[in-house]
C-alpha cells in the first residue's frame, strides 16, 4: 500500500462527506458510519505501525529517517525575481510521530463510540467530529510546515463548534476562550513559519532548477553559500526536514544558523524558538497559558473532552518537538533551564490546583496540566531517556486521560452533576464502576504496573542525568507524585468510600452500574495501559532510534 498515510488521513474525511450526504431520515446511520470510518482508519494505522521498523537509522534532519513517505508537489508559484514558492504534500512517519498516530487512532475510535448517544444535530456533530479526526491525523503525519500549519488551524474550527454547540452551560465562553488562546498561539507559529520559509531552501529542487542533478545536494549547498546560485533560482520550501538541517539556510537570511539578525537585541533564532515555544505551550498547555483547559474540558461534552485531552494536548507537545526543538536546537539548549523550570512548576502547580477543585472534570483537567509538565521537563532534559520519557508520557497520558474523562462522563451522563461533594460511598452502589475508577486513578498517579509510571520514571532519570537542567529540578518535581496521590485518593475516598449518600434523592435509581457500551470503551483502555506498563518496549523499540538521533542532533549544539 503505497499511499498508506494519505488513506489514513483522508478516510475520515470521506466518511465525513458520506455523513453529510446521507439524508436526515437515516438518523442513526451517522454514528455507525463514523465508527466504521474510524475503525477502518485504526486498522490501517495498526498496519502502518506494524510495517514501521524501529531499526531504521538516520539523522533526525535527513529524510533517511522517515518511513511510509509520500511527497508530491502540491502547488508552486513563480514570483519573478523573488525566486520560486513551492509547497509540497509531504507526509511521512518517523519515531517521533508513530506513537502519536497510534494514540490518535485509538482515542478517536473510542471518542466515536463514546458519542453514541449524542441526540441533537447528529449530522453536524458527526461531520465535524470526522473533520476533526482527519485534521488531527493529518497534523501528526504532515512533514511540510505549510501542510502542518494547515491541519493545525483546521483542527480549531470543528473543535470550536463541537464545544460551542454541544457543550455545557458556559459553552460559548469556553469555546471562544479555547479558540482565541490557540489562535494567538498559531499566529506566533505562523510568523515563525514565514520567517523560516524565506530563509530555507530546498537543495534538491534548487539543484534541478540550477541545472545540477538532484543528487549533488552538498555541491549545491556549497554553491548557495558562496552565492554562485542567485536568489532567483533558489527554490524556497516549507519542508520541515530541510528546515532542521542547518546548511539548508540561505546565507544572510533572517533565521540563519550564525544568527546575525537581531530582534530587540536577541538573536533572531532565539526569538523564533521562543515564539514557537509559546505557540505550542499554549496548546500543551504549559502553566501560564493553561487557563483555557479547565473551562474547555468542563464545558465540552464527554466524547469531545476525551479527544481534547487524549490527543489535542499531544499535538502541542509533538509540535514542540517537531518544530521548535528539531529546528532550533541551539536556542533550545539556551532556554532549557527555563523550559525545565516551567515543566517542574507545571507539575506542582497543576497538582496543587487539582487538590483544591470541587468539580471532578476540572480536577482531571488540572491533573492533565500537571502531567503535561512532565513532557516539558523531559524535553528540557534533552537526554535520550528524557525525550523518550516525554513521548511515552504523551502516549500514556493520552490513554489514561481518555479513560479518566470517560469515567467522569459516566457519572455526568447519569446525573448531570460533577461536584465531588454531592456524592459519597458510590462503591457500594456501583462496585464495578469503582474498580475502573480505582484503576484509572492509580494509573494516573503513576502506580508501577501502569504506563504512567514508566513515563514518569524515564522523565525523572532523564532529567536528573541531563546537564541541560539542574539536578534539583527533578527532585523537587517528585513532590508532584505525592500531591498526585493526595488529590486522587482524596477524591476516591470522598466520592466512593464511606456510606452511600447522594445530594439529590432521585439520582439514586439513575446511578446504575456500567452498561455494555461503557465496558466496550473502558476495558480496551485498561488493557492498553497495563500492556504498555508491563512491556514498554512495544513502543520504545519504535521510537528508540529516532530519539537517539534527535538527542545527538540536540547534543551537537551543547557547548
Amino acid at each position: 500500500m503505497v499511499h498508506l498515510l494519505s488513506y489514513i488521513v483522508f478516510i475520515p474525511l470521506v466518511a465525513a462527506l458520506l455523513v453529510l450526504l446521507t439524508p436526515k431520515v437515516y438518523q442513526n446511520l451517522y454514528r455507525v458510519l463514523t465508527v466504521l470510518g474510524l475503525g477502518l482508519t485504526l486498522v490501517l494505522i495498526i498496519f502502518a505501525v506494524s510495517k514501521f521498523d524501529g531499526s531504521v537509522q538516520g539523522a533526525i534532519n535527513s529524510e533517511a529517517n522517515l518511513q511510509l513517505v509520500e511527497k508530491t508537489e502540491w502547488f508552486s508559484m513563480s514570483l519573478g525575481s523573488l525566486g520560486k514558492f513551492s509547497v509540497d504534500y509531504f507526509v511521512g512517519t518517523d519515531g517521533l510521530n508513530v506513537g502519536m498516530l497510534l494514540l490518535a487512532g485509538i482515542v478517536l475510535l473510542i471518542g466515536a463510540i463514546a458519542s453514541w448517544n449524542i441526540k441533537e444535530k447528529q449530522k453536524a456533530y458527526f461531520g465535524l467530529y470526522l473533520l476533526l479526526s482527519s485534521s488531527i491525523l493529518g497534523c501528526f503525519v504532515a512533514l511540510d510546515f505549510f501542510l502542518f500549519y494547515l491541519f493545525f488551524e483546521f483542527m480549531l474550527l470543528p473543535m470550536y463548534f463541537l464545544i460551542g454547540i454541544w457543550g455545557g452551560p458556559r459553552k460559548e465562553y469556553a469555546a471562544i476562550k479555547f479558540f482565541l488562546y490557540t489562535l494567538v498561539g498559531s499566529i506566533l507559529i505562523l510568523i515563525v513559519m514565514i520567517g523560516l520559509y524565506n530563509s530555507v531552501y530546498d537543495p534538491v529542487k534548487t539543484a534541478l532548477e540550477a541545472g545540477y542533478e538532484a543528487s549533488q545536494v552538498e555541491q549545491v549547498q556549497q554553491l548557495v553559500q558562496d552565492g554562485t546560485i542567485k536568489s532567483g533560482q533558489i527554490v524556497k520550501s516549507f519542508n520541515m526536514i530541510h528546515m532542521a538541517d542547518a546548511d539548508n539556510y540561505i546565507p544572510g537570511s533572517f533565521l540563519e544558523k550564525s544568527g546575525l539578525a537581531k530582534i530587540f537585541g536577541q538573536p533572531a533564532r532565539w526569538i523564533a524558538f521562543l515564539a514557537l515555544l509559546i505557540g505550542f505551550a499554549i496548546k500543551l498547555p504549559a502553566v501560564p497559558f493553561h487557563t483555557w483547559l479547565p473551562d474547555a474540558h468542563v464545558e465540552a461534552p464527554t466524547p469531545i473532552s476525551v479527544v481534547l485531552a487524549g490527543i489535542l494536548l499531544k499535538v502541542g507537545g509533538y509540535g514542540l518537538i517537531r518544530t521548535a526543538f528539531v529546528m532550533f536546537p541551539d536556542s533550545a539548549y539556551h532556554y532549557s533551564w527555563l523550559i525545565g523550570f516551567f515543566g517542574m512548576f507545571a507539575i506542582i502547580y497543576g497538582a496543587l490546583n487539582a487538590l483544591a477543585q470541587k468539580d471532578l472534570k476540572k480536577l482531571i483537567a488540572y491533573s492533565s496540566v500537571s502531567h503535561m509538565g512532565f513532557v516539558l521537563m523531559g524535553l528540557a532534559a534533552m537526554t535520550v531517556e528524557g525525550i523518550s520519557g516525554a513521548i511515552y508520557q504523551m502516549y500514556s497520558h493520552g490513554l489514561i486521560s481518555a479513560m479518566l474523562f470517560l469515567i467522569a462522563g459516566v457519572i455526568y451522563d447519569r446525573t448531570h452533576d460533577r461536584m465531588i461533594e454531592n456524592y459519597g460511598g458510590l462503591a457500594s452502589q456501583m462496585p464495578k464502576y469503582t474498580v475502573f475508577v480505582a484503576i484509572a486513578f492509580f494509573a494516573s498517579l503513576g502506580l508501577p504496573g501502569f504506563s504512567g509510571f514508566i513515563a514518569e520514571l524515564m522523565v525523572f532519570i532523564g532529567s536528573f542525568k541531563s546537564s541541560a537542567i539542574p539536578a534539583w529540578m527533578p527532585v523537587v518535581a517528585t513532590t508532584g507524585l505525592v500531591l498526585g496521590a493526595g488529590y486522587y485518593l482524596w477524591t476516591l475516598q470522598r466520592m466512593f468510600f464511606g456510606k452511600f449518600w447522594v445530594k439529590d434523592k432521585n439520582w439514586v435509581n439513575s446511578l446504575t452500574d456500567l452498561n455494555s457500551r461503557e465496558y466496550l470503551m473502558l476495558v480496551p483502555l485498561v488493557i492498553l495501559i497495563l500492556v504498555f506498563g508491563i512491556y514498554p518496549s512495544l513502543l520504545l523499540d519504535l521510537i528508540n532510534n529516532s530519539v537517539e538521533s534527535f538527542a545527538d542532533h540536540l547534543f551537537q549544539f551543547r557547548k
Binding site: K177, Y349, A356, F442, G449, L457, V482, L483, A485
Partner: protein, 711 residues
C-alpha cells in the same frame, strides 16, 4: 575498565521456574479467589500452603549453594539496557519462607475471623495480592523492580487497611498510609535517579560491581566503565554518594514507619487484625529493613550514621508512646515501630546479621501477639449487641481474661516475654546481639554516639514496662466489661477462641522460643548468625564506614557479659515497675479505667505520640490545603482575571477605536467619497450632450497637453 554490558548479560538458571511459581501462585490467588464465592478462603489458603511448601523446599535445596542470579532484558532506552534480575541467596530464602509461612497462618486465622464478613473473597484476593508484591520485593535483585513491588505493597496495604470502606476512619487511614508511603517513595526515586545517572543501570549486581571501581577524586565521585564499547565517565559531587544512600533509606523510612513517617502505622490498625498481624507486624514493615540489607554494601559512613540515629530515635519515641495507650492494637503497633527502630539502628551501626536476626524473631512473636489479640477482639465482638456497644479493642473493657481464655493467655504470654527480651526467648537473643554490636560501635565511634546506646537501653526498659502492663490489664484483675455494662451474664458468654484461630497462635508462640535458633544465650552460636555473615562495604574507601567485621572478637567478648547483664536487668526493672503500677486495683490501674486520657504532661505526650500526628495534620496538611486553595483562587482570579481583564480592556479599546473610526477615518472616507464624487461630477460635466462642446473640450485638452509637454 569493566564493561556494563558484560555484567548485565542475560543469565538463565533452572531455578527460574521455581521463582516464577513463587510469584505466580499468590498473583493467581489474587485473580481467581473472587470467582470462588463462598469457598474463596479455602482456595487461597490452599494456594498459600502450596507456596510455603515451595519456599521451604527451595530453602532446603539451595541453602548451602552459592547465590544464584537470573537476568533478562526488559526494554532498551537509547544506549542503556533496562534489565530485570532475580537473586536467590540465603536472605531471600529465609525471607520467602517467613513471608509465606506467616501469610499462610494469617489465611488460616482469617478463615474464622472473617467468617461472617460477606466481602471475604475480596479480602483473600487482596491478601494474595499482598503476598505476591512482598515476594516481588524479596526475589528481585533490581532496584527498579524492588521499587515497583514497593508501591504495589503500598497499594495492597491501602486496599487492606481500607477493607471496611464503609468506615470513614478506615478509608482515611488507608489514604494516610498510602500518602505517607508515597512520601517515602520520593526518596526512593531520587536514590534511583542518582544511581542510574552514575551507573546507567538499576541492577544491584551491576551497581555493586561498578561502585567498587568508582573512586572519590577531590570531592568528586567518579565512575568509569564502558557500555558496549564506548567509554563512559560520570562525575558527580561526592555528596551525591551519601545522598543516594540517605535517599534510598527514606524509602525504607516510609515503608517501615520510621521517624518522621511513622504516624500512619497506629492509624493502620483500622484494618482487620489478621491484616495488621501480617502486614503491620511481620512482613511489609520488614520490607524496609530487607531493602536496607540489600543496599547495605553501597551505604557510606554518612548514610549509615543517619540510619542509626533515625533508628534509635524511632525506637525510643515509639516505646514511650506505647506506655499509655488504651487500645491493645495501638500498643502492639507502637511496639512494632519501636522494634523496627531497633532493626534499622542495627543496620545503621553495621550490625547486618543481628539486624536481620531481630527481623526474623520479631516477625514471629509480633505476629503471634497480634493474632492472639485478634482472638480476644473476635470473642469480644461476639458479645456485642444492640444495647451492648463498646470498642472491642479497648483494654479497659478487658481484664481477667486468663480465666476465660487460658490457651490464648498462654500463647500471648510466650510472645510478650519474647518481645520483652527475657532470656530463653528468641527476642532476647536477637536484641542482645544488636545491643552488643551497638555497644562496640559506640566505643569505636566515641563522642556523641553514646546517645543511641542510651536510647536503646532505655527502650529495653520501656518495652519491658508496656509488655507487662498490657498483660496485667488484659489478663489479670477482674473482667471489667460486665461491671461497666452492669450485665453480669456477659462474662459467662466469653469463651475461648476455636481451634482454627489457636493453632497459628500456638505455632508462633513456639517459634518465639530461643531453642528454635540454638540452645545458647549467646547469639553468636545460633545457626542464623553463622549463616548470615555481614558483607563488607563496597563504597570508595574514603567514604566507607568502619565495618564491625574487622573489629577483633576480643572487644566483643569483653563487652558481651556487661551488655547481657544490663539488658536483662533493665527488662526486669521495667517489669517490676509495671507490676507495681498496674497489678489489680493498684493506683494507676484504677485511674486508667475511669479516665479518658492519662493525666500529666508525660502521659499526654506519650498518649498522643509526641503530638506528631496533630503537628502533621495542623501544619503540613493544613498548609498544603491552604496553599492549594490559594493557588486555585490565584489561578481563577489572577490569571483568569488578567485574561478577562485583557478581554475587557480590548472591549474598551474597541469602543475607543469605534469612536475614532466613526469620526476620523469614516470622516476621511466620506471625504474621499465626497471628493471622488465631485471629481466624477467634474469629469461627467463635460458630457453636456452637445457634440460641439465635446470637440472644443477635447481640442483644448490636446493643446493644454502639448503646451505642458513642450515647456
Amino acid at each position: 575498565m569493566i564493561d556494563l554490558q558484560d555484567i548485565i548479560l542475560p543469565k538463565s538458571d533452572p531455578i527460574i521456574y521455581w521463582i516464577i511459581a513463587l510469584l505466580a501462585i499468590p498473583f493467581f490467588s489474587f485473580l481467581s479467589t473472587q470467582k470462588f464465592r463462598s469457598k474463596a478462603p479455602h482456595w487461597s489458603t490452599f494456594l498459600l500452603g502450596l507456596n510455603t511448601l515451595i519456599a521451604i523446599y527451595l530453602t532446603t535445596r539451595y541453602w548451602n549453594s552459592d547465590f544464584i542470579t537470573v537476568r533478562g532484558h526488559w526494554f532498551k532506552l537509547g544506549e542503556t539496557q533496562i534489565t530485570y534480575s532475580f537473586l536467590v541467596d540465603r536472605l531471600t530464602l529465609i525471607m520467602s519462607v517467613i513471608v509465606n509461612f506467616i501469610s499462610l497462618l494469617v489465611h488460616l486465622f482469617s478463615q474464622e475471623y472473617m467468617r461472617k464478613d460477606k466481602a471475604k473473597p475480596r479480602y483473600f484476593a487482596f491478601l494474595g495480592l499482598f503476598t505476591f508484591s512482598m515476594m516481588g520485593i524479596v526475589l528481585f535483585n533490581d532496584l527498579l523492580f524492588i521499587f515497583i513491588f514497593w508501591e504495589l505493597v503500598g497499594l495492597s496495604s491501602y486496599l487492606l487497611i481500607g477493607f471496611w470502606f464503609e468506615k470513614k476512619s478506615a478509608s482515611l487511614a488507608a489514604n494516610k498510609a498510602f500518602i505517607m508511603n508515597r512520601l517515602g517513595d520520593l526518596g526512593f526515586i531520587t536514590g534511583l535517579m542518582i544511581l542510574y545517572t552514575q551507573f546507567h543501570s538499576f541492577d544491584l549486581e551491576a551497581i555493586k560491581s561498578l561502585m567498587i571501581y568508582s573512586e572519590i577524586e577531590g570531592g568528586n565521585w567518579v565512575a568509569q566503565f564502558t557500555n558496549n564499547g564506548h567509554e563512559i565517565i560520570n562525575t558527580l559531587d561526592g555528596r551525591w554518594l551519601s545522598a543516594a544512600g540517605i535517599a534510598l533509606f527514606c524509602g525504607a523510612v516510609g515503608k517501615s514507619a520510621q521517624f518522621p513517617l511513622q504516624v500512619w502505622l497506629p492509624d493502620a490498625m483500622e484494618g482487620p487484625t489478621p491484616v495488621s498481624a501480617l502486614i503491620h507486624a511481620a512482613t511489609m514493615v520488614a520490607a524496609g529493613v530487607y531493602m536496607l540489607a540489600r543496599i547495605f554494601v553501597i551505604l557510606d559512613a554518612q548514610a549509615l550514621e543517619v540510619v542509626a540515629i533515625v533508628g534509635a530515635i524511632t525506637a525510643f519515641m515509639a516505646a514511650i508512646a506505647a506506655l499509655s495507650q488504651f487500645d491493645i492494637k495501638k500498643v502492639l503497633a507502637y511496639s512494632t515501630i519501636s522494634q523496627l527502630g531497633y532493626m534499622v539502628m542495627a543496620m545503621g551501626i553495621g550490625a547486618y546479621t543481628s539486624g536481620l536476626f531481630h527481623l526474623v524473631t520479631h516477625a514471629f512473636f509480633k505476629a503471634g501477639l497480634f493474632l492472639s489479640a485478634g482472638i480476644i477482639i473476635h470473642q469480644l465482638h461476639k458479645l456485642e449487641s444492640k444495647e451492648v456497644m463498646f470498642n472491642a479493642q479497648d483494654m479497659r473493657v478487658m481484664g481477667g481474661l486468663r480465666k476465660h481464655m487460658p490457651k490464648t493467655f498462654f500463647c500471648f504470654l510466650m510472645c510478650a516475654l519474647a518481645l520483652a527480651g527475657l532470656p530463653g526467648f528468641s527476642g532476647f537473643l536477637s536484641k542482645d546481639a544488636i545491643l552488643l554490636d551497638l555497644a562496640v560501635w559506640a566505643d569505636i565511634k566515641g563522642g556523641g554516639f553514646y546517645i543511641p546506646e542510651v536510647l536503646a537501653f532505655a527502650t529495653v526498659l520501656f518495652t519491658g514496662f508496656y509488655t507487662i502492663r498490657m498483660i496485667l490489664l488484659v489478663f489479670f484483675g477482674n473482667f471489667r466489661l460486665p461491671i461497666i455494662m452492669q450485665k453480669n451474664e456477659l462474662s459467662g458468654r466469653l469463651k475461648e477462641g476455636n481451634w482454627i484461630m489457636l493453632v497459628p497462635v500456638a505455632i508462633l508462640a513456639l517459634l518465639s522460643l530461643s531453642p528454635v535458633f540454638g540452645f545458647t544465650l549467646n547469639a553468636e552460636h545460633t545457626w542464623f548468625v553463622e549463616a548470615m555473615p555481614t558483607p563488607i562495604y563496597l563504597v570508595p574507601i574514603s567514604y566507607a564506614a568502619k565495618s564491625l567485621v574487622d573489629v577483633t572478637p576480643e572487644t566483643f567478648e569483653a563487652l558481651h557479659g556487661l551488655v547481657n547483664a544490663v539488658s536483662i536487668g533493665l527488662a526486669i526493672v521495667g517489669i517490676v515497675i509495671a507490676y507495681l503500677a498496674y497489678k489489680p486495683n493498684a493506683k494507676l490501674e484504677q485511674e486508667f479505667v475511669e479516665r479518658r486520657e492519662p493525666r500529666g504532661f508525660f502521659g499526654q505526650v506519650s498518649f498522643y505520640h509526641w503530638y506528631q500526628d496533630a503537628f502533621y495534620r495542623k501544619a503540613i496538611l493544613k498548609f498544603v490545603m491552604l496553599k492549594a486553595q490559594a493557588l486555585s483562587w490565584f489561578d481563577k482570579k489572577v490569571i483568569d482575571g488578567i485574561i478577562d481583564g485583557l478581554a475587557k480592556f480590548n472591549v474598551v479599546f474597541a469602543h475607543l477605536i469605534k469612536w475614532f473610526d466613526r469620526y476620523f477615518v469614516d470622516g476621511l472616507v466620506h471625504l474621499t467619497v465626497f471628493t471622488s464624487g465631485r471629481i466624477g461630477q467634474l469629469t461627467r460635466s463635460i458630457q453636456s450632450g452637445n457634440v460641439q462642446a465635446y470637440i472644443l473640450a477635447s481640442f483644448v485638452f490636446l493643446i493644454l497637453l502639448m503646451l505642458y509637454l513642450v515647456f
